[in-house]
């Protein structure tokens, strides 16, 4: 199945908003670190419901924020959630970004980058569209160290790239991005029930759930375009 078919279905049954709720717990911390200045043009890659772009616009008084998504239904939903004229959504693919060289001040992506058919090519595309000194904040919950995420591939028809932290750093550098920081951002918001509640439907043990959310959390890699 294509990205479009898979995620159009997610958007149609409301999973765009469900992801927003789950991802916000770590996304808010990573978003808070971005060096966005008033007037900047920011791009959200794989925007889903588009919440990150709206938050960037509200927090930093960004000039224009664009959310790109390969699923027309995601872009349509995202568009419907705001009437801020400085926020726009468009349909496009990670492998062929429809932006001019150096057109973007900062890039953001949450739980989307690893769906790129060719992640190396996507990083090169991001390096191309960012102006020199622009940053790319890449946040993922699906990565090698997070063993609890490995099974996610079984539940989705789109192929996913599972790198570890050092593979992210290497790939950024290969694409010409300087790695400025890397971090595991814990999710401190998700409620973890008492020991007595385990096993739950999703978790064999409390220790696993603690490790997944409070220790591994979201892997954030920040690249800077030269």
């Amino acid at each position: 199945m294509s990205v479009r078919e898979e995620f159009d279905a997610w958007a149609a049954d409301g999973r765009d908003r469900g992801m927003e709720d789950r991802h916000w717990a770590t996304a808010k911390h990573a978003l808070g670190r971005m060096p966005v200045e008033p007037g900047d043009v920011v791009l959200d890659l794989g925007c889903g419901s588009g919440y990150a772009g709206r938050a960037i616009r509200d927090t930093y008084d960004a000039g224009r924020v664009y959310g790109l998504d390969g699923s027309p239904e995601m872009a349509r939903n995202a568009s419907g959630y705001t009437d801020d004229p400085a926020v726009g959504y468009l349909i496009g693919d990670f492998g062929a970004l429809p932006f001019a060289d150096d057109a973007i001040d900062h890039g953001w992506s949450m739980e989307a980058f690893y769906y790129a058919a060719d992640p190396h090519e996507t990083l090169r595309e991001i390096a191309r569209v960012l102006r020199p000194g622009g940053t790319f904040f890449c946040a993922v919950n699906y990565y090698e160290e997070n063993v609890h995420s490995h099974e996610w591939q079984d539940r989705i028809s789109v192929e996913m790239t599972r790198w570890d932290a050092s593979e992210y750093r290497d790939a950024f550098r290969d694409a010409g991005l300087v790695v400025a920081e890397q971090d595991f951002v814990p999710d401190r918001d998700v409620e973890i029930p008492d020991e007595s509640a385990f096993p739950t439907d999703d978790w064999d043990s409390r220790a696993d759930m603690v490790e997944r959310y409070r220790e591994f959390g979201t892997l954030l890699t920040v690249g800077v375009a030269r």
């Binding site: 199945m1 294509s2 479009r4 078919e5 043009v41 224009r64 664009y66 390969g70 027309p72 872009a75 349509r76 568009s79 004229p85 726009g88 959504y89 468009l90 349909i91 496009g92 693919d93 492998g95 062929a96 970004l97 429809p98 932006f99 001019a100 060289d101 057109a103 973007i104």
Partner: protein
Amino acid sequence: MKESLLDILCCPLDKHDLDLEDASGEDEIESGTLVCTECGERYPIEDGIPNLLPPDMREETPA
């Protein structure tokens, strides 16, 4: 979409500029077509959202 987006958009295939054709809408462009000034590839704008998927990803494919 706002017309200002055109300043930074380009053809996803060859990265050349796009021309806007058959635009309609009031404050914003609600529908129209973006045409690559180099390769002539056409990208639709529907309900205010431009679709810049490469043409082979844009077509409906049966599941």
